[in-house]
């Protein structure tokens, strides 16, 4: 690692309308270092790297590469200067193959100026191999799981042979094994002298790989620290601007009565889809129960079928024949569509909020009220007063930060967007809440708020089924954890006396002695 900064940003400022996203930020990346960017949702991390990667061109301040000031006209210019970026939102072309996506914009040519497919495939295999990604480069990108797409995105950035590699939450959709492989790759890059900018909300990761960490708060630098040598609490208090203790007074799951009234009873649920979609693990003989006031976790490796199970329970799964029985509050429950599920008192927070849950341009208030319009209107006419009161209530209850209820959802930070989806589901007063990766991309403070919220909801008697890839989350928040493997239940564990290893073992199909493993 040299002290010579490859990229230096000084006094970078950017506002979106009235919102100040960056207020004079200094930031630099040296060759061979991993420089982490930390901060709450909306602190300005993505905005900063968007400036650096040429996506945002109208900013104040200067960006210098090797000491000489530059102003990129667009992403291509930044790439030409050796700055490669893995953006937060997956930006790939579903209709092209993996290989075509990898070389998009830089296709190898034959002498006839046509695309050299051999070279393209060779490069693709090489790159994916570096990440240990076992993917056929000719597959259509759209047929890949989200995690696999994330790997392609990473491989694509690596392909640029950049001097600076920016990663904006690259691990949000990755499971443990992939994360480890990614870290190995990052270590290799660093040895080659590549400067890495790394954004993540997972503190463990930062501590593991970052040399330096710059903490942003409300668009300004709150401090720069050495993560390995700095107390985690201090970093967090830099991020949130107050002491960290207040954040983590989340009591462990409040112990409810041992024999809760069963709310959701799933018995041998299987789905035989009408058309088999590759990469989907449909529920096969799933049996589990969620009691009223109970939080049950769903664990599993990437593609274990958690999402599919939740979708099926919400009436949004693959069309097809289903067998087995599901009872909700003692009544048979087989929703034909999400509408029916909502009517029966089941809410669902999907895993991909931008694609499945939000219209970014629509006002926050309307987004919150959408699912509950039925109860907010009389004879089809929305009662504004009632709606306003309901929205206001939920925004306050969940502490949603927005300029106003009329502000477009897209202008909120990721964590607040997630809370908007929560609010929408809570407005319909569900008995059972299905959550799919509800804290993905959510900052540490907001996460804590979400956990508190879940506990409160459970205490009020709601049943919660929570799918997550973060084991600490499952163990910390849930009463029980059901582990899925290839669509079937591999284990049903009590959170209090299980460890991350237990879950992993079950998820990977290794029997664990003494546990309720199937």
């Amino acid at each position: 690692m040299s002290d010579e900064a490859v990229v230096t940003m000084t006094g970078v400022a950017k506002r979106f309308g009235g919102v100040v996203a960056l207020a004079g930020v200094d930031f630099s990346v040296r060759a061979g270092e991993v420089h982490a960017l930390l901060g709450e949702n909306g602190a300005g991390k993505s905005t900063l790297i968007n400036v650096l990667s040429g996506v945002i061109t109208d900013y104040e301040g200067t960006v210098a590469v090797d000491g000489s000031p530059v102003r990129f006209a667009g992403p291509a210019a930044a790439q030409a200067a050796g700055i490669a970026t893995i953006h937060q939102e997956l930006d790939l072309v579903p209709g092209l193959s993996v290989a075509e996506n990898l070389v998009l914009g830089r296709e190898p040519r034959t002498r006839l100026r046509t695309v050299d497919r051999r070279a393209m495939l060779r490069t693709a295999r090489e790159q994916l191999g570096r990440l240990g990604a076992d993917l056929d480069p000719r597959r259509l990108l759209g047929s890949l799981r989200v995690g696999e797409q994330q790997l392609v995105e990473i491989a694509k950035a690596l392909l640029l042979d950049a001097r600076v590699l920016i990663m904006d939450e690259p691990t949000a959709a990755l499971a443990d094994a992939e994360v480890r492989r990614l870290f190995a790759t990052i270590a290799g890059l660093r040895r080659e002298g590549v400067g890495v900018v790394y954004i993540s909300h997972r503190m463990e990761e930062i501590e593991q790989i970052a040399d330096r960490a710059t903490v942003l708060r409300n668009g300004s630098v709150a401090g720069t620290v050495r993560p390995g040598e700095t107390d985690r609490g201090r970093i967090i208090s830099l991020m949130v601007g107050r002491s960290a203790e207040s954040l983590f007074d989340v009591a462990a799951a409040p112990d409810g009565p041992a024999d809760r009234e069963p709310l959701l009873e799933v018995d041998a649920l299987s789905v035989r889809p009408k058309t088999v979609r590759p990469g989907r693990s449909e529920p096969t003989g799933v049996t589990l129960t969620v009691g009223a006031g109970e939080i049950v976790g769903l664990a599993g490796l990437m593609g274990a079928g958690r999402t599919e199970l939740l979708e099926t329970l919400f009436g949004a799964g693959s069309p097809g024949r289903r067998s087995g029985t599901v009872r909700l509050g003692g009544q048979p429950y087989a929703p034909r569509n999400p509408r029916a599920a909502l009517r029966s008192g089941v809410g669902f927070v999907p895993e991909d909020r931008r694609r499945s849950a939000l219209v970014l341009a629509h006002p926050t208030g309307r987004s919150i009220a959408l699912a509950a319009l039925g109860s907010l209107s009389t004879l089809g006419v929305v009662r504004r007063g009632r709606e306003r009161a309901a929205v206001r209530g939920k925004m306050a209850e969940l502490a949603i930060k927005a300029a106003s209820a009329a502000a477009p959802v897209g202008s909120l930070s990721g964590g607040n967007q997630q809370k908007v989806i929560f609010a929408r589901q809570l407005l319909v007063r569900p008995r059972l809440l299905l959550l799919d990766e509800p804290t993905r991309g959510v900052d540490i403070g907001a996460k804590a708020e979400i956990y508190r919220l879940l506990h409160r909801l459970a205490a009020d008697g709601m049943g919660i089924l929570l799918a997550s890839s973060e084991l600490p989350e499952l163990l910390g928040v849930c009463d029980r954890v059901v582990v899925l493997r290839r669509g079937a239940v591999a284990a049903d564990l009590t959170a209090a006396d299980s460890t991350a290893e237990d879950i992993l073992a079950a998820a990977m199909g290794v029997a664990v002695a003494g546990k309720d493993s199937r």
Binding site: G17, G18, V19, V20, A21, G42, N218, G219, V240, G241, R242, S246, F314, A316, N337, P338, R339, A341, L342, R343, F348, P350, R355, S356, A357, L358, V359, A361, H362, R366, A369, L370, A371, L373, G374, L376, S377, G380, V381, V382, R384, R388, V391, R392, G393, M395, A396, E397, L398, A399, I400, K401, A402, A403, S404, A405, A406, V428, E449, R452
Partner: protein
């Protein structure tokens, strides 16, 4: 903890400092709250603004007769609204369809079919006004609903469904009428329509033409529907993100069918007015009206991508086109030059629209 990202002087939902925010209700007031929102509001009436500009220009370039500005003549203004009333009514239905993220190319043909139906039923089949109108409206509704069903259920893009629907409706109209216009004569005899039907040709107080009144009434009703109903929210939601709408429990298929049914119904209304205005039901009428209606919607600021736009804009857009047509004709502009001018005005309006989106 204060949120420094919020511009000063604004009410904000108090940020959560500690657990348990219940009770600290933030007020959600309905006033413009920042420069940005103010701009938004200003631009929201952008199509109205364009309308005013065109109106003023029209006054300026209007031919005069003895000091009187012909364009401003009461009768002329009435004529303008009467002339756009059919396109306008169609455009109201089209607005719903476009907000939904679809498009309806069949409305012009449905208009022709409905005009033929009205004339045939009253003249040849001896129906009274009410039965004839009801049957024709039902046909339009059904035709639209069928198209909506095909889009929603078979998942075929509405462009294609309605392109096919256009041909089918036109074919049906020609077959029904035998290829020729069915003239409507009024009287009590056989082969005569009830004289009351002629009211579509009249005007209220001799000033405001009846079709204009109907157009305005339908437009205002649509504004109210779009502003107040849950149905409208569903339309916006589907147009914005269909998957999200579905997962939020919006009955997507039903809403889609309803929207296309409304478009078909309003095209039928326009067809009945058309027959009444022209005293004839001609199977070839209404050709190309769909494009005029789409132009009105887009000039009115509704995005073809779906999910954003307003009904007031559509009304303004339709009137703008009507004024444009009128002033070009009043000044006896060459028909070909008219084509060029209209093309450029459409692009200019869309560009203005775009500008708004970039600023907001």
């Amino acid at each position: 903890m204060t949120d420094t990202r919020t511009p000063p002087g604004e009410e904000v939902a108090p940020a959560a400092g500690t657990v348990g925010l219940r009770g600290t209700a933030a007020r959600w007031v309905h006033r413009p709250r920042s420069r940005r929102e103010l701009l938004d509001r200003l631009f929201a009436v952008q199509s109205l603004f364009a309308l005013v500009v065109v109106f003023v220009v029209a006054i300026a370039v209007s031919p005069r007769r003895g000091g009187e500005i012909l364009f401003l003549d009461g009768g002329n203004l009435g004529n303008i609204v009467r002339a756009v009333s059919e396109i306008g009514i169609i455009a109201v239905g089209m607005t719903f369809v476009i907000l939904l993220g679809g498009i309806d190319l069949s409305v012009g043909a449905i208009l022709g079919l409905s005009a033929v139906g009205t004339a045939t039923l009253m003249v040849d089949s001896g129906y009274g006004i009410l039965p004839a109108v009801v049957v024709v409206l039902a046909i339009g509704l059904l035709f639209g609903a069928l198209q909506g069903y095909a889009t929603a259920r078979l998942g075929i893009q509405s462009f294609i469904v309605t392109l096919a629907g256009l041909q089918v409706a036109r074919g049906l109209a020609r077959i029904w009428s035998g290829g020729l216009g069915i003239p409507i004569a009024y009287g009590d005899g056989p082969k005569e329509a009830p004289p009351a039907f002629e009211f579509l040709n009249g005007s209220i107080n001799g000033v405001v033409p009846v079709p204009a009144v109907l157009f305005i009434a339908i437009g205002v009703a649509a504004i109210v529907v779009l502003r107040t109903t849950a149905f409208a929210r569903h339309v916006y939601a589907i147009g914005g993100n269909e998957k999200a709408a579905k997962l939020s429990g919006v009955p997507v298929t039903r809403v889609k069918v309803a929207v296309f049914a409304i478009a078909g119904l309003l095209a039928a209304v326009a067809g009945i007015i058309h027959a009444g205005q022209l005293n004839q039901g001609s199977p070839n009428d209404g050709a190309g009206y769909e494009l005029d209606a789409i132009a009105a919607v887009v000039i009115g600021g509704t995005s073809l991508a779906g999910g954003s736009g307003s009904m007031g804009g559509t009304l303004a857009g339709a009137l703008l086109l009507g004024i444009l047509n009128n002033i070009l004709a009043l000044n006896n502009i060459d028909a070909n030059v008219q084509l060029l001018i209209k093309g450029l005005v459409i692009v200019a309006a869309a560009a203005l629209q775009k500008l708004r989106n970039t600023v907001a």
